[in-house]
């Protein structure tokens, strides 16, 4: 699966200049700003960033699933097959959720309703977009449980979420998400709450399902290991903006933004006793207002302009672009 293959394909979903704001005591604060990202059919895109960088909020904006009354899209557009989904009515949105775009969230235990049985929750996901009833419905539920490799599906369907492990709950979440064969699955930190062996199982499952169904995958993560494992293309977010985007190999081999470079340096092997390369300073506070490049305070190469003006994204290679003043003058190799 090479990103270039899809270069000519039109994007399935495309966000342009998306700005998402959160209501706080001090008024509305933009958390995600100028978010441009597209996902093509069958492609796996990763959004990588640290906590509070706005990556989850950006993903939820794509589905119009922001917490009501507390966050809203305050600018930009999201086009799905050419339709702007920000203007859709509730009924049209419901027809789209689960059927076109589905979601699995971070904490598999709390993503399932504790007082409703696994079976009922799964059937609910099926009937939301189909007329299956009775035996056929049950058979479809069993089939989905098999698809996500849950042993003894008959018995598990009668269980309640608290009786299953985190890994099993995440498989159930995946089963619900793929119930109506969506064309895009958004996975918000799908393995963060899981152990490394279970993480590998879930990632493998996602890859297999993707191969079998041809759906596109948008993975939100903070872990470059997951990115390397899954993604065709990756967007790096920092303080509400995409600072670099490109094909995964290109980003790993030739990162152009100092932040990406810093993070990737951390993932390399460092012998015992040697100091790890640090990124100095703190992760910016959630929704902190600033002028200039948000990374300037922590950037070892920051210059005067970085603190004054926010850099725009510019192409630095095939499908590879970054928002950094230093790339202007070619100072960052």
């Amino acid at each position: 699966m090479n990103a270039q293959t899809f270069a000519v394909d039109t994007p399935f979903i495309e966000a342009r200049g998306l700005t998402t704001s959160v209501r706080t005591k001090r008024g509305e604060v933009p958390i995600v700003t100028g978010f441009d990202l597209s996902v093509r059919r069958g492609e796996t895109v990763a959004i990588v960033g640290e906590s509070g960088c706005g990556k989850s909020l950006a993903a939820l904006s794509l589905m119009q699933l922001l917490p009501k009354g507390r966050a809203r899209v305050s600018g930009g557009e999201v086009r799905l097959d050419g339709r702007d989904i920000l203007t859709l009515k509730a009924r049209e949105l419901n027809a789209l959720r689960g059927r076109e775009i589905a979601l699995i969230s971070q904490d598999p235990m709390s993503a399932l309703n504790p007082v409703i049985s696994i079976g009922a929750q799964l059937r609910e996901a099926i009937t939301a977009h189909s007329d299956l009833k009775g035996e056929a419905l049950h058979a479809r539920a069993i089939e989905l449980m098999r698809l996500v490799q849950i042993p003894d599906p008959e018995a598990r369907l009668r269980e309640y979420p608290h009786r299953l492990s985190g890994g099993m709950c995440q498989r159930v979440s995946i089963a619900m998400a793929i119930a109506s064969q969506p064309r895009l699955l958004i996975a918000d930190e799908p393995t963060t709450a899981l152990d490394v062996t279970i993480q590998a199982q879930v990632l493998q499952l996602l890859q297999r399902l993707k191969r079998e169904t041809g759906m596109a995958l948008l993975i939100i993560t903070h872990d470059f290991g997951v990115v390397a494992e899954m993604a065709d293309r990756v967007a790096v977010m920092y303080a509400g903006r995409i600072v670099e985007e490109g094909p995964v190999r290109e980003i790993f081999r030739n990162p152009r933004h100092p932040y990406t470079q810093g993070l990737l340096a951390l993932t390399r092997h460092h012998p015992r006793g040697m100091r790890l390369p640090e990124i100095a300073g703190l992760v910016p506070a959630y929704g902190e207002a600033r002028t200039g490049c948000a990374f300037a305070d922590r950037c070892p190469q920051a210059r005067a302009i970085c603190r004054q003006l926010t850099p725009e994204r510019r192409s630095v290679g095939p499908l590879h672009d970054t928002a950094c003043w230093l790339t202007e003058t070619g100072e960052v190799a």
């Binding site: 640290e50 906590s51 152990d195 590998a200 290991g225 990124i279």
Partner: protein, 330 residues
């Protein structure tokens, strides 16, 4: 010199659902100045082990000795002189600090409890703040004014306040942002070099342990299944579980083979309410044989220098070594 010596430790915790067999007959030695990394999945008993060493969780069998003194059954008064020698750094930095105490109060607490005057404690606390890289004015501020990484530094300052011999670090960086992790790990490394303190470094993050640990221990269902010196451990893991664990970690390399085609360890860590007879790993082991269900394999030396608790790993004594079959996971 052996600082901490644990023999045949057993921790069985009664709960309403039954007895949790958290630690089941575990031997562990930590030398002065050594960093021991402890890895394993959540629920394998590593965290409980750490708290048992701190005498925060009661042990139900075996012994714990610190500097030759048996501390297994000391009461509160007997523990008083021992407490300063062994301290702890917690995973959840928000929960580890009392939100009603200033950072200065939190750090000077162990000093005050050990009879330091208020002035001396304050002076030493300010030195500690500088030592862990926090500004001096942090003293009178409250934990909620700090970021996760900074709070973790406060927790570390509190742990080193009384110059302990051993610090149990329970997942000290897993709640931190990636870009901040390195700062905290470097700080821990610096402290160890300067203070000569020993670390028991509990983590599920293999790369962190690989970087920091002199010796690595792998736990499964409350037992040690493999241990070895840093380099040899990572080069030649012998236990099928260790190999699976190492395999499961993502490669950080987009050109590495992807999980979709890899054989993976299946299943999950089983319940520790009822231990299986025999090898704890038998339920998930792709190589399992009849003898694995009969007796618990004991830790013994294997080729390459690691100690392994697996019936299938041959003794290294004979020169002609039969290689362990590669486990294949369905």
């Amino acid at each position: 010199m052996t600082l901490l010596s644990v023999r045949n430790l057993e921790v069985h915790l009664p709960t309403t659902h039954g007895v949790v067999h958290a630690v089941n007959g575990l031997d562990l030695d930590i030398a002065a100045g050594e960093t021991v990394g402890l890895i394993g999945e959540s629920g394998c008993g590593k965290s409980t082990l750490g708290k048992t060493l701190m005498r925060l969780v009661p042990s139900t069998g075996g012994s714990i000795s610190l500097e030759g003194q048996d501390i297994t059954h000391l009461d509160a008064r007997g523990l008083k002189p021992v407490r300063p020698k062994i301290q702890m750094v917690f995973q959840d930095n928000a929960s580890a600090l009392n939100p009603r105490h200033t950072v200065g109060q939190s750090i000077s607490q162990p000093l005050r409890l050990n009879g330091w005057s208020k002035r001396d404690a304050r002076q030493h606390t300010e030195e500690l703040l500088a030592r862990v890289g926090l500004p001096k004015d942090s003293f009178d501020r409250y934990p909620n004014e700090f970021s996760g990484g900074q709070r973790q530094r406060v927790g570390i300052a509190r742990a080193i306040a009384l110059n302990p011999k051993l610090i149990v670090c329970d997942e000290p960086v897993s709640a931190l942002d990636v870009s901040v992790r390195a700062q905290v790990i470097n700080l821990l490394g610096d402290l160890q070099r300067d203070l000569g303190v020993s670390f028991l470094f509990i983590s599920h993050d293999l790369s962190v342990v690989e970087h920091i640990a002199d010796r690595v221990i792998v736990m499964y269902l409350g037992r040690i299944v493999e241990q070895g010196r840093g380099d040899s451990f990572w080069k030649s893991p012998k236990h099928p579980y260790t190999r699976a664990l190492l395999d499961a970690a993502p490669a950080h390399d987009p050109d590495a083979p992807r999980a979709v085609d890899k054989p993976l360890l299946q299943g999950e860590l089983p319940s520790n309410l009822h231990l299986p007879q025999g090898c704890p790993f038998q339920g998930r082991c792709p190589l399992v044989e009849a003898r694995c269900r009969e007796s618990v394999p004991q830790l013994r030396r294997a080729e390459g220098g690691n100690q392994v608790a697996c019936h299938l790993v041959p003794e290294p004594a004979e020169p002609a070594v039969q290689p362990v079959p590669e486990p294949v996971y369905s």
